[in-house]
Point group: C2
Chain length 441, copies 2
Amino acid sequence: MQAIDLLIDARWVIPVNPAGRALDHHSVAVHDGRILAVLPTAQAHTAYVAGEFVSLPAHALIPGLVNLHTHAATVLMRGFAEDMAPMQWLQERFWPAESRNVSPQFVYDGTLLACAEMLRGGITCFNDMYLYPAETARAAIEMGMRAALGLVVVDTPTTYATDADDYVAKGLALRDAMREHPLLSFCMAPHAPHTVGDKTLSRLITLAEELDLPVHMQVHKTLDEIAQSVARHGVRPLERLRALGMVGPNLIAAHAIHLAPEEITLLVKNGSSVAHCPTSNLKCANGIAPVAQMLAEGVTVGLGTGGPAGNDRLDMFQEMRLAALLAKAASGDAGTLPAHRALAMATLDGARALRIDHAIGSIEPGKFADLTAVEFNALEMLPCYNPVSHLVYSAGRENVSHVWVAGRLLVENRGLKNGQKNDLEKLALLWQNRLSMETKA
Amino acid sequence: MQAIDLLIDARWVIPVNPAGRALDHHSVAVHDGRILAVLPTAQAHTAYVAGEFVSLPAHALIPGLVNLHTHAATVLMRGFAEDMAPMQWLQERFWPAESRNVSPQFVYDGTLLACAEMLRGGITCFNDMYLYPAETARAAIEMGMRAALGLVVVDTPTTYATDADDYVAKGLALRDAMREHPLLSFCMAPHAPHTVGDKTLSRLITLAEELDLPVHMQVHKTLDEIAQSVARHGVRPLERLRALGMVGPNLIAAHAIHLAPEEITLLVKNGSSVAHCPTSNLKCANGIAPVAQMLAEGVTVGLGTGGPAGNDRLDMFQEMRLAALLAKAASGDAGTLPAHRALAMATLDGARALRIDHAIGSIEPGKFADLTAVEFNALEMLPCYNPVSHLVYSAGRENVSHVWVAGRLLVENRGLKNGQKNDLEKLALLWQNRLSMETKA
């Protein structure tokens, strides 16, 4: 018998690859943070002696969820303004409050809180785009969570950086300092077509190619953005990005709501990915993305929550369910985007878009043990005829019981480790009071 | 000081009427199952001495949620078949399994389980449409939950009744026997336009008028239903119902997805109500109902989960959030269907449609103390700037802590009273095994 670090027995292991499979009474053997084997529980107990053993008799074990687009730190402004038109919301509420408050401390504190929420909801990796990404990195590492850090760039100054060159320099310095960290990966992150000019974009494209980094950008999110591009550049944003050489396998187009058929073809042909954010897209009244068409054409589509100041739940169970539901209604076919596909979008396809699917996104030997256990014995989950569809249509993040990142247990029986909850509550209330007072002043 | 049964102190009381208000540090005084007063907590403690006292220091107290359209007992077939076209789903999976299994015991057991789920999710009243409504009533009463019982009628025989007259007779007998029960109300419930003929409908209309009952019917749910009506009757279902005299203040049109502008006007002019079921409508690929237009015209729109065999969550928090999100995207205006309106739809407007808004639906003196407490101190709810929008956009049913129906505490700290959970789990697994074996046979 082989000595290993961790053995997890589960009622079902849902590996995601192969698609749609739920392995009855299987176990996952973990050593040195990585998955060693996935095998029937009866065999596992004759093959391994484990330092730690966890029994999940009524649970599905799935790959940790990948939140492919967020601005984590803005959770401190969750619900700060609601039911407003996006531009009014940004100009009158979000930007003024953000510009007064954003700081390294804001980003660090906000990201800690967001990581706690994401972990408790079964999310093990997030792709972030926000100011002070070094603080995002520090918070993610402290929480033990995996992060793809957007090296954010806009053309306008903020407290974080003075101009495009400064954003780029700060981003690259962060990557140089942290590139060996096993929990981190990096993306070039030009904010959006209307906030970054051609000169900056061209430089980022060159850098992304040289450094072999994904490019994470919000694209075709609003009709305004498209109209502005047509007015200024004579073409829609995607065509402008194509002409600049940016539509390639390293592009992650976040939101990507308004896509003509030929634009979907453009994404497929160039191997670009989409971060679909169904809740955020609806809440901002931006529309319903043509996901059924994208999937039919073969675009890699992951799922994201968008920023928590807008969404207001960092909840990938909601995004899986809503993605599946919306695609059915939009296509008029209830068979569109079946449950196992929604789960793949929330895991392996997100990892693929980030180009880290060699490391995470499915439960396969050799990958990191980023794992989420979902408990199936709540009354709300009974009866159960198919664990995969139940996971998407019945389960919620409240059913997540255990979460591991690289084999390290971060959530156990719904609770964060090490009494983090109290400290995080205090942090949240501190910022709540500060922002509330401002509003009243 | 006045002696009363129950005093509840809450961080916020959200009475729903007046709309959009959150009363800081208020209390609700309850006596004999009814709300006696809503007043500032400081005053409450000098005015009343309560037999029971509950402190909710980080909670919003809202009216119990009203699920305006469901088929509760079918929770036993939750997730029985997924990602299938509705007619294929019905014909190949649902109807065969239902016809083999439906029985008084099935309905009683299923309704117990559904009530448990609904109560834990803050739902205190449900409007049901299913076979064996006497069993639905028995289960609801046993769980202490309020129910509007659909006296279901179709033209085809089932194990429950042989023909339309038999359905009607059984429904009326149930109403006669139970009409004084304080937890129950009744609706005539012709299933849908394509399953009930003109003769039966005419009789039901007369009866509903004589007995002053709402008429709960699925209307304009699918394009097929509309096409069938045009082929058979020469008109769309709503026009057929109008001609029969059924479109009046007692009509609750469930789903009502496909509505032309003049059909919305017809509903408004006649004071008819709609039970909007956003999740079910999407999942069955039936479409997105024109809720923004209905609300703008003044239709009373409540919210429902639809049947749990299709949805698969009896979760009115999901329905509130999804109704608000969809209406924004469908109208292109993020200000459409603001949070307080979604909450009103899930409470007072549902009660209005059922014509029991004199008794429930808001936190006002004289109404029954049907109350739901939502805890706001989970990390997922922090920070909080506006409790009403937080309730709709951030909270989930997992944040429901306490539920009372007519002043009786049924859920305390997320748990059902009296150890019901174990028995219900056993029931669910019994039916799960039975239906699973059938599938394999």
